[in-house]
């Protein structure tokens, strides 16, 4: 259905040698499709920043290949690589704007590098269009110090898209991690808009599940330098298959400290069934009462998803009946969880 734009094969990255050797990435395989928003999520130290920096070779992989747009970057010479980098761009947690340049001059920067298309007026016209697109047409002459975090990131996004021809890939390295929730939301909306309207493939590196839920189509969970699992966001969210995935999906990622029941079951359900009063039905029909430990609803893409953690009754047979009942409900995944219990 779609074509691969970024292909990573058997990528390893090792820092240092001998005793101080750190394997940051171990045998990573990843395919990112053209036009999608792909998330790479992991806790700090998981290797996600190293991974994204390996995509544009800011960090040279120890072994393995990176292919972008059919061009194997790992095989390129320095000069060809610089040219290839003009076809993708990157935004950062710290914005990394040139502090001595105005917003407009910052956006012009990548166009100055190209050399071929020199006209200053042409560059400025393009920069103004981009300023318009990111919603800051009146900030052309402002210096970065005069802008808020969210505004700086908007300028950084405009700068990232300024290169001509327009970059096809936008790498976002923790782009919203320094921003407050409202600003994060607006930046995510902007990224989504860029993805939809300009057809830019977006790769999002984050430690926040919220970011992935909001904008990503697919996600890879990275832990200890290894991709633990990857797939559609809704699948990973409703049914995380690995420990690492569960840790990220669980409300707050924390363990429940007070243990109100012997056994816990986690339900994940999508919008289709969340209107049904399953707990009440269970109580009314079977006479089994479940204890609600936590519940959470989220919107992923256009669908609504919920998770709920229930405490099963002490009685073994009642617990078993409750589990059978829950598992029979269509669209609901019920699984016993043990990793929540301390």
């Amino acid at each position: 259905m779609s074509e691969t734009i970024i292909r990573i094969e058997h990528l390893c990255k090792t820092f240092g040698t001998g005793d101080g050797k750190v394997e940051a990435l171990k045998d990573i395989d990843l395919d990112i499709q053209k036009g999608e928003i792909f998330g790479i999520i992991g806790l700090s130290g998981a290797g996600k920043s190293t991974l994204v920096r390996c995509i544009n070779l800011l960090e040279r992989p120890t072994s393995g290949t990176v292919t972008v747009n059919g061009q194997e970057l790992t095989a390129l010479k320095e000069k060809e690589l610089r040219k290839a980098r003009m076809g993708m761009s990157m935004i950062f947690q710290g914005f990394n704007l040139l502090m001595q340049r105005t917003a407009l001059q910052n956006i012009c920067f990548p166009l100055e590098l190209n050399g071929v298309r020199g006209e200053k007026s042409w560059r400025e016209k393009r920069a103004r269009e981009l300023l318009e697109m990111v919603g800051l047409p009146d900030k052309a002459d402002a210096y970065p110090v005069q802008l808020s975090g969210g505004q700086k990131q908007r300028i950084a996004i405009a700068r990232a898209l300024a290169q001509y021809p327009q970059p096809q890939v936008l790498l976002c390295d923790e782009a919203t991690s320094a921003l407050d929730p409202t600003t994060t939301q607006s930046i995510l909306d902007l990224l989504k808009k860029i993805n939809r309207e300009m057809g830019v493939t977006v790769v999002v590196i984050t430690h926040e599940m919220r970011v992935v839920e909001q904008i990503c189509d697919r996600v890879a969970v990275l832990e200890g330098g290894v991709i633990q699992e990857q797939g559609d966001v809704s699948d990973i969210f409703s049914n995380p298959r690995t420990e690492a995935g569960r840790r990220l999906v669980m409300p707050n990622g924390e363990k429940i400290h007070v243990l109100p029941a012997n056994r816990l079951v986690r339900l994940a359900f999508n919008g289709a069934t969340s209107g049904e009063p399953i707990i009440s039905t269970l109580a009314a029909r079977e006479g089994i009462c479940l204890n609600i430990i936590s519940a959470d609803t989220r919107t992923i893409g256009d669908k609504s998803f919920g998770t709920m953690v229930l405490g099963l009754p002490q009685d073994e047979t009642e617990a078993a009946r409750a589990l059978i009942y829950l598992r029979e409900i269509p669209g609901v995944t019920a699984e016993e969880v043990t990793d929540l219990v301390q």
Binding site: Q100, F109, L113
Partner: protein, 229 residues
């Protein structure tokens, strides 16, 4: 100190020598500073970019040699350097006495100092910005001209001012070995002939000049720094 004879001597000097001396002092300050920057700026940039974590690493023996040369030149006391280098001035500017001759040792004494100052300022440029430029496909040269130097500009202006004042001080010292300028008047009349009044007036003039350099430097630095709202 304020005897009639002394005051008379001072007025004579002010009438006949002062203007020329100020001119010499300014020449002995600005020209070596500019020359020292012409050598020290590229060298300082090279010390950062050629580093093993820099944007264009150079073989580490090359970097070590550069560092040793700079440290060596910096550790020689200026007066000794002056004595050693003055004969060289004859080759470069044709004379080994006077204001013109002093410019050579002043430049040699100052450029390693400037290189270190530049190095520090360039290192202070946010590594993230350099990385962003690399991610956009900038070449090492483009990074130097479009990122490192413009981003470090306020610090570089401030460095220029610091160098100017240091060289100004060296220049006054050079009066001992036949240099010109206000320092030479202070040393020749004040120290050798014990006319303290002349010496103190010259010292006050030197202080005023330093103040002017510093305030002007501060003003330009502040004006050029867009990080200040």
């Amino acid at each position: 100190m304020f005897s009639e004879k002394n005051v008379e001597l001072l007025t004579g000097i002010i009438h006949e020598e002062l203007l020329k001396a100020i001119g010499e002092t300014l020449l002995m300050t600005f020209l070596p500073t500019l020359l020292a920057f012409a050598i020290g700026l590229p060298l300082g940039v090279l010390l950062v970019t050629g580093d093993k974590r820099g944007i264009r690493p150079l073989p580490s023996p090359v970097m070590q040699v550069l560092n040793v040369i700079i440290n060596l030149l910096r550790s020689v006391p200026f007066l000794i350097l002056l004595v050693v280098v003055l004969p060289l001035s004859r080759l470069v500017v044709g004379t080994s006495v006077g204001t013109k001759a002093i410019i050579v040792p002043l430049t040699i004494a100052a450029f390693p100092f400037v290189a270190r100052l530049v190095e520090t300022s360039i290192r202070e440029v946010d590594q993230g910005v350099v990385e962003a430029a690399q991610a956009m496909g900038a070449s090492p040269m483009q990074i130097v001209y479009k990122v490192l130097i413009p981003e470090a500009k306020p610090a570089l202006i401030s460095n220029f001012c610091v160098s100017l004042i240091t060289i100004f001080g060296y220049g006054a010292m050079a009066g001992i070995l036949g240099g010109g300028g206000l320092g030479a008047i202070a040393i020749n009349y004040g120290y050798y002939r014990r006319r303290e009044l002349v010496m103190w007036v010259m010292v006050i003039l030197l202080i005023v000049l330093v103040q002017i350099f510093q305030s002007t430097g501060n003003y330009i630095t502040k004006r050029s720094d867009k990080r200040i709202r």
